[in-house]
């Protein structure tokens, strides 16, 4: 049996396009039409959401600004991204895959993070204090994979979110800080809906009515999120930030309520719809 697990997340990126689509539907069904990877897929997803519910893009801009403000307070955030932005900057940033703008998109960066995982007993023996406990975890993969026409605004988070919160025995209103996987800004809004912070289609008014700053009523990706800190090794940024906050090591961006934190993950995008894998993790301090 493993006594101690060292969880290492590391990434370095190359500029050349080395994406190999030879085993994917992409080479036959999206590459020939120039659909631009994840920005293209989220462009289709955003437009479908807009057609169904309407979408005030300035509210997505509010989330972008909140996360950028957090990155300004995070010395580990990618230096290039540590520049203040406004909602107008978001709205005026150039279109990539309309309605996806430049400031919707995550930027790949080099980076690394690490965590040590062990039993409470082992931690005590080692004299380690301020341990963080994962008390609820669930994931859902290939959400509605056996169905044809699905509501693309929904994801497996609506299932695994309930499971993870259930295991942790807390309700969604008890979540003290939220650290969702953010590859595009709209993914955050879709997760507000899927986890039940608000009802389906009510993401925009929910954003309007809440303050997502580190000292607001629902602190959101307090390290800047991947979008404003840089995407290195995917979810590790949001996970490590949640651990830091619960340990009280948030520095200038320390949240007040450290009873728990909810971290999420997202993986791959199915043909013309939403992400295919969803994960949720509830952390509490010892």
């Amino acid at each position: 049996m493993c006594d101690v697990a060292f969880l290492l997340f590391a990434d370095t990126h190359v500029l050349e396009d080395r994406t190999d689509h030879s085993h994917s539907y992409r080479r036959e069904w999206t590459d020939p039409y120039g659909l631009m990877g994840p920005p293209g897929a989220f462009g289709l997803l955003s437009r479908a959401y807009e057609a169904k519910y309407g979408l005030d893009y300035r509210m997505l801009g509010k989330l972008a600004v909140t996360q950028r403000n957090h990155a300004l307070l995070n010395e580990n955030a990618c230096e290039k991204l540590r520049v203040p932005i406004t909602i107008d900057d978001y709205m005026n940033s150039r279109m990539i895959a309309d309605p996806i703008r430049l400031l919707d998109c995550v930027m790949r960066t080099d980076g690394a993070a690490g965590l040590l995982m062990m039993s409470r007993k082992r931690a005590k023996e080692k004299g380690l204090t301020k341990c963080i406990i994962p008390i609820g975890y669930a994931e859902r993969t290939n959400f509605k994979g056996g169905e044809n026409l699905v509501d693309v605004t929904k994801s497996g988070h609506e299932i695994c979110g309930k499971k993870a919160l259930g295991a942790a025995a807390i309700g969604i209103k008890d979540v003290a800080s939220f650290h969702p996987y953010d590859d595009f800004i709209i993914a955050i809004m879709l997760q507000f809906e899927a986890f039940g912070f608000c009802k389906a289609g009510e993401g925009v008014p929910f954003i309007r009515d809440h303050d997502f700053s580190y000292n607001g009523d629902l602190p959101l990706n307090t390290g800047g999120g991947q979008i404003s800190a840089g995407q290195a090794a995917c979810s590790s940024h949001n996970l490590v930030e949640a651990v830091r906050q619960l340990r009280g090591e948030g520095g200038k961006r320390q949240v007040k309520d450290t009873r728990n934190a909810l971290v999420t993950g997202i993986g791959w995008i199915n043909y013309g719809r939403n992400w295919g894998s969803s994960a949720a993790l509830v952390l509490v301090p010892e």
């Binding site: 631009m36 057609a51 895959a97 309309d98």
Partner: protein, 145 residues
């Protein structure tokens, strides 16, 4: 002012096929659209797979010719294209719900940015490729009622 969209007909495309997709490409040589149909459940599926996504069985799959008519389910205007499409921006990528109940992602021709709307009725446009197959695209179906 009307914003012109590139119809992407000038983009060079070489497409590698999976073995199980060949019946699709073969039919496009005659500008026919065939879609996989699951005999056990009576439902269509797209993109092509080796098995039915409804039952997981290979023997449930057959190919059926369909009209290719449908409505725009969603679309995105690409302002920053993939390497093969660089220089062709802006161009639209549409997801169309075909009348047999599957979504099909493609480009659209004979359509400007102001006309392109979710819910718009479309019909096939067949773009010839060098290998004798045709690439399915869509165009507005102005005769549709």
């Amino acid at each position: 002012m009307t914003k012109a969209l590139n119809d992407t007909l000038g983009v060079k495309r070489t497409i590698k096929h999976f073995d199980f997709s060949e019946p699709y490409w073969e039919a496009t040589k005659q500008k026919k659209l065939v879609i996989q149909y699951c005999k056990a459940t009576g439902k269509y599926q797209h993109f092509p797979r080796p098995v039915s996504i409804f039952t997981g069985r290979r023997r449930d799959i057959e190919w059926r010719e369909v009209s290719g008519k449908g409505v725009v389910f969603s679309y995105t205007i690409t302002e920053r294209g993939t390497p093969a499409f660089r220089g062709a921006e802006p161009y639209a990528v549409v997801s169309v719900t075909l009348d047999v109940g599957v979504n099909f992602i493609a480009n659209i021709v004979n359509c400007n940015a102001e006309e392109l709307k979710v819910g718009m009725k479309v019909k096939p446009y067949w773009h010839p490729l060098d290998d004798g197959t045709h690439l399915l695209m869509f165009q507005p179906d102005k005769d549709a009622t």
